[in-house]
């Protein structure tokens, strides 16, 4: 069967194949997730596995998160001052800096940074383990690689993210304070008191923490799945690493919209 009449069917078939492929990948990702969640209880007797992952995802990301947070806070202080001083409301700078950091930039930018710094490393690591048949090796020794290798990494990313986001926001507020109060001459008392009056612990800070927990979970899940599902070649691993960063960033931004709509909708 060939000829010009077949062209529309071929196009339809390739569309169908792409859709089926996507659905299958989505399904595999969820099967892997179930496996990883089932493996979490087996971590209890071996806290050392989690410790290693907290180091790899959390501690090693601290530097980039803190430095970025400082600069983002300083830029917010600078930009906010120029806009607010036009309305004679430069004292509200503290509120503006803290609200943008705690509600949005802290969780979102931290998640993007972690996706780039730790997520890509996770994908490459798992992908290489697959390529060099270390995962099958574990299976041969009757050790479930999902429980032994992937579960601790999922929990490590999940736990690290809110702490990193809190560090980002806290350092950012200090950066905004440094620029606003130290360099531009906003009143120090007004900076803090307005901030405390307007930023709500339950409404703003806790919602930011919830966001970063969700982001930590999703970013780590995507990174681990891309590594586990990688084509075991050099090109395959590099493609998976790229996909991790792209997919994780898109997922974070899309989820941020959904979560913000749910939390601040009313």
């Amino acid at each position: 069967m060939s000829g010009p009449l077949n062209a529309p069917f071929n196009a339809l078939a390739s569309l169908g194949r792409v859709v089926l492929d996507r659905v299958a990948r989505f399904g595999r990702a969820h099967v892997l997730l179930l496996g990883m969640l089932a493996g979490l209880p087996s971590l209890l007797p071996r806290p050392r596995l989690l410790l290693l992952q907290l180091y790899a995802t959390g501690v090693l990301s601290v530097l980039i998160v803190v430095v970025s947070g400082l600069f983002v806070g300083m830029v917010l202080g600078l930009q906010g001052y120029y806009v607010l001083s036009q309305f004679g409301a430069a004292e509200s700078l503290g509120v503006m800096v803290a609200a943008s950091l705690v509600r949005e930039l802290g969780p979102v930018v931290t998640a993007l940074l972690v996706a780039g710094r730790a997520g890509s490393a996770l994908t490459a690591e798992i992908g290489l383990m697959k390529t060099t048949e270390q995962l099958s090796g574990l299976e041969m020794m009757a050790v479930d690689p999902v429980k032994r290798v992937l579960s601790p990494r999922l929990l490590g990313g999940f736990l690290s993210m809110p702490l990193l986001a809190a560090l980002f926001s806290a350092v950012g507020v200090l950066g905004g304070y440094f620029v606003g109060v130290g360099l531009l001459g906003v009143d120090s008392g007004a900076f803090w008191s307005q901030m405390q009056a307007k930023i709500d612990f339950h409404g703003d800070v806790l919602n930011g923490v919830i966001k970063s927990l969700v982001f930590g979970f999703v970013v780590t899940w995507i990174a681990l799945f891309e590594g586990y599902d990688a084509v075991p070649t050099a090109t395959g691993i590099s493609r998976s690493t790229t996909r991790t960063v792209v997919n994780a960033a898109l997922a974070v931004l899309a989820l941020d919209f959904v979560l913000t709509a749910l939390m601040f909708g009313d």
Binding site: G58, P162, L163, V173, W192, K198, F201
Partner: protein, 156 residues
């Protein structure tokens, strides 16, 4: 591979730093430190118009915050807004003939309730109602009145 002890210390320091940052956000950035001021007692006041007064808006006397607005409801019999305020326990000597006004902080700031103490020897207790109230100044009404008076001047 980093040595296990160094690694443990690094992870421990990371957890502490993260929790300290969370604590900083809770106590210094948000209003949790104000919320933890303890219990208080509730008083009610009816207003013809509360404007954009919100739940959790401050209640102040002489500019000092003495409590917060706890709830705003509508009284269907009297066609008025009923505002319940939670006053901090330590401010327990507010006279019964106190006057409650709704003010605006600055020209465009948030609405808050200002209490103007009267001269009565009796003090407000839990569940009491403030009788003397003045509604929020609605900017649109003021501008409307101002324009009307200007127009009338022009007719003469």
């Amino acid at each position: 591979m980093v040595k296990m002890r160094t690694l443990e210390i690094a992870v421990g320091a990371f957890m502490v730093a993260g929790l300290v940052a969370l604590f900083f956000l809770a106590m210094h950035v948000s209003n949790l430190s104000n919320l933890a001021a303890g219990d208080g007692y509730r008083i009610r006041a009816n207003f013809d118009n509360v404007g954009s007064l919100k739940v959790r808006s401050p209640v102040s006397m002489s500019g000092v915050r003495v409590g917060r607005v706890e709830s705003i409801a509508y009284d269907q019999q009297r066609f008025q807004a009923v505002v319940t305020m939670l006053i901090d326990e330590q401010f327990n000597s507010i006279p019964t003939d106190t006057f409650a006004n709704i003010f605006t902080a600055g020209l465009l700031g948030e609405k808050y309730i200002g209490l103007d103490p009267g001269g009565s020897m009796e003090v407000l207790a839990d569940g009491d109602q403030i009788e003397h109230t003045q509604s929020a100044l609605v900017l649109e009404q003021m501008i409307g009145r101002f324009l009307l008076s200007k127009a009338e001047e022009g007719v003469d």
